[in-house]
């Protein structure tokens, strides 16, 4: 197996290296990909048609919003897939595991966590909301928000975190996130334009059709953030307890 793997890997590597010889040099601004019409369109026109200076956010949430919708669905699938594979609803598989109480980390860790948790969460909200102008957006902010709950579970024990964010609630939040995203697209459909064509929403949002695109990006980013927050916490709580959700790390 090792020899076979080595041969396969070297064949693949040599094939890939043989192709790099007719690539443009690294960082060449005149390469086909960087100088192409699509890339130039994104760089030159993004701000004038969507009023969003961060091109990555604009391309992510508007031009290729259909991809991002499925990206959120992928996260959702991972969350419910982990539950489907691992979750043990019958209770514990070995009763002795449940005996010792789960009371998280020591006093110092708890105190530090309770100090920094609010700041993490505020920063996460800032990242979601400020994705139009700076790096960040729904996904990054959602991961950070979910991480704050993971930190809570690590410091105060999973049962404490579950009081705030029970399993049922995580599922509802995850569903709400996708519902916001897809529902926003369906709203465009109901108003008579294509799916995810935000420009038609200027009739219900303040500003012209370009501002409608900008505002809609914020809405779908919030949707992404909901799903990602819920699923990140659900992933951690299932994986750290082998699907029993009774006692954390």
């Amino acid at each position: 197996m090792k020899v076979f793997g080595l041969i396969a890997v070297f064949v693949v590597g040599l094939l890939l290296l043989s192709a790099t010889q007719d690539f443009p040099s690294w960082g060449d601004p005149r390469s086909a990909a960087s100088d192409g019409e699509v890339s130039s369109f994104y760089i030159e026109k993004t701000e004038s048609v969507t009023k969003v200076p961060n091109m990555v956010t604009a391309v992510l949430a508007d031009f290729r919003g259909y991809d991002t919708m499925f990206e959120t669905v992928v996260i959702f699938i991972a969350g419910i897939g982990i539950i489907a594979v691992l979750r043990n609803f019958e209770g514990t598989d070995s009763p002795s595991d449940n005996d010792n109480d789960d009371d998280g980390a020591g006093l110092l860790a708890r105190f530090t966590c309770s100090l920094i948790l609010p700041f993490i969460q505020i920063f996460a909200l800032y990242v979601v909301a400020h994705g139009h102008h700076s790096p960040g957006g729904g996904f990054q902010g959602g991961v950070m928000f979910g991480a704050s709950y993971i930190l809570l579970a690590l410091a105060f024990g999973l049962s404490k975190a579950k009081q705030l964010f029970s399993e049922r609630r995580t599922m509802i939040f995850a569903v709400i996130g996708i519902f916001i995203y897809v529902g926003w697209g369906v709203l465009c459909l109901l108003l008579g334009k294509e799916f995810l064509n935000y420009s038609v929403l200027d009739s219900i949002l303040p500003g012209d059709s370009m501002m409608a695109r900008s505002h809609s990006m914020l809405v779908v980013e919030i949707g992404v953030a909901f799903t990602v927050t819920a699923i990140m916490f659900s992933m951690y709580s299932n994986l750290s307890t082998r699907g029993r959700l009774s006692k954390g790390l």
Partner: protein, 508 residues
């Protein structure tokens, strides 16, 4: 309204999946009804899409997500859906099989999903969303995302089975990730040379700039093909498939076996003819044409022989799928329209007959409690209704008229003769003979029972003691899907001429 059909086909099961998750574990009955309604609605919409596409005015629906018309550029800046008759037919097959399979899941899901019924229905609906999206999208990167959606759902669905299912699911994760990543690499190589991701635009750039001879484009083609072949279990890369489909929960196996590999074959045809263009793929300068035909010959022969060697009926059927993938790859690579159309027609007919056989096999295994062929004594007397459905599927697999298996094989053979690839024609005929041996072995066992004097190391189970009371027919929720599948096998066979003409015109 009609122009929104492509996205509606996707959105209905997506919402269905969300609702099913919200309904929760306490209401399995309502989960079933929700997914039945959503998939039924989705298949009705896809049926209407076929009608719209076949009408005089519209031949190809193009749907631009977000309404991004290319104004200042020639290329698409957003993502585009593209539905022609080929896509519409495959989408209808996917949603319809999903709908029928949901009927079948009614009793099995509660028995096999271990209290996780809503997650099962949610995952299967998201799998259908992914498959339909793969078929309709016209964007190379979006195709990758959707391939990953189908992969992730199928990993989870397979791993819901017993412990061997979990192990085969893990192997599938490894193989599937390698396949999808190879596809992604190939798309990256195309992007670095062409600067666009839209499938039609890439083909245009490749043609206009004469990039065909570039090493990076050739490598991109090889990697995309390797990735797609891994996902469709083409012979040397088939390792993950038999265990995964055989050990998965039965209602998962009946859905994934007919569809997953077939949709990837569709992707392969689309990559060959639309992404790279036939001038590149069938060019005389590349050695691969002949090579792939020989690989498909090996796949057909090896798949058939491996199936012959198995006694477990589900394993046998999974190896037959490996052989059928060989048929379709060979047909698509023959380089003439007859072969391509034959391969495409075989996608539909193979989906129908595999679905039929898998349902029948699952019912039989469920009732007998043993998946070995040796246990099938006197099944025609014990379960006549099930065996009729099984017979239809088996005859189609062997290739007897008027089932669809005969016609698709006929078109493939005609394509092989046109292209002068005699080894491929011989492999097809050989495989039909092997299939005949395999299935008549089962028929003999099931009709006449164990012939006296033949000694076997088979220990009689309880079912032999009182054969007439213990084995009964299954409830209607399993028989109805079986009969729908067998009727569609016959219908596809009877309708072969118009179907084949539609496919041929779309490919030209």
């Amino acid at each position: 309204m009609t122009e929104h059909f492509p996205i509606l086909i996707l959105l209905v099961p997506l919402f269905g999946a969300l609702i099913v998750v919200l309904l929760g574990r306490e209401r399995p009955e309502q989960c079933w009804i929700t997914s039945l309604i959503s998939l039924g609605l989705s298949s009705i919409i896809s049926l209407f899409t076929i009608i719209v596409v076949l009408s005089d005015k519209v031949q190809t629906i193009r749907y631009r997500m977000g309404g991004w018309e290319p104004e200042s550029t020639v290329f698409e800046v957003g993502i585009e859906l593209r539905v022609d008759i080929l896509a519409a037919l495959v989408v209808f097959a996917v949603t319809f099989v999903g709908f029928v399979n949901t009927i079948y899941s009614k009793t099995r899901a509660e028995a096999e999903a271990q209290g996780k019924v809503p997650f099962f229905y949610a995952l299967i609906q998201l799998l259908i969303v992914g498959l339909c999206g793969i078929v309709m999208t016209n964007d190379a990167f979006n195709l990758y995302v959707l391939i990953e959606i189908t992969s992730l759902t199928s990993y989870a669905l397979i791993a819901m089975g017993n412990r061997r299912a979990a192990l085969s699911s893990f192997n599938y994760v490894i193989m599937g990730t390698i396949g999808a990543s190879f596809y992604l690499l190939g798309v990256g190589y195309l992007y670095i040379k062409t600067g666009t991701l839209n499938i039609d635009d890439i083909r245009m750039v490749l043609g206009n700039d004469k990039l065909w001879e570039h090493q990076s484009i050739i490598v991109a083609f090889i990697f995309i093909m390797l990735g797609v072949w891994t996902k469709m279990a083409f012979f040397p890369l088939h390792g993950w498939l038999p265990n995964a489909y055989a050990y998965a929960p039965s209602m998962t196996g009946t859905f994934m076996a007919p569809l997953m590999t077939k949709v990837m074959v569709y992707v392969m045809i689309r990559v060959m003819l639309w992404l790279f263009g036939d001038k590149f793929v069938y060019s005389d300068q590349h050695v691969w044409g002949e090579l792939v035909i020989w690989m498909s010959v090996i796949a057909i022969v090896a798949g058939s022989l491996l199936a012959l060697a198995r006694t477990d009926i589900k394993k046998m059927l999974t190896y037959l799928i490996v052989a059928e993938v060989g048929y379709m790859v060979g047909g698509a690579w023959l380089g003439n329209v007859t072969g391509q159309a034959g391969a495409f027609y075989h996608i539909l007919s193979d989906a129908a007959m595999t679905f039929c056989l898998f349902i029948a096999a699952s019912i039989i295994v469920l009732r007998i409690g043993d998946s070995r062929v040796n246990a099938f004594d006197n099944l025609f007397r014990k379960m006549p209704l099930t065996m009729i459905g099984f017979t239809v599927g088996a005859l189609s697999m062997i290739g007897l008229p008027p089932t669809c298996g005969f016609f698709s094989k006929w078109y493939l053979i005609r394509g092989g003769i046109e292209a002068g690839q005699w080894e491929y024609v011989c492999a097809l005929i050989f495989s039909s003979l092997v299939n005949a041996v395999i299935f008549f072995r089962i028929f003999e066992r099931a009709y006449f029972g164990n012939i006296a004097g033949v000694k076997e190391d088979f220990s009689p189970s309880d079912s032999d003691a009182n054969p007439d009371t213990s084995i009964k027919e299954v409830p209607w929720s399993m028989l109805v899907p079986l009969y729908i599948a067998s009727v569609s096998v016959l219908l596809l066979g009877i309708m072969n001429r118009p179907l084949f003409e539609w496919i041929q015109t779309a490919l030209k």
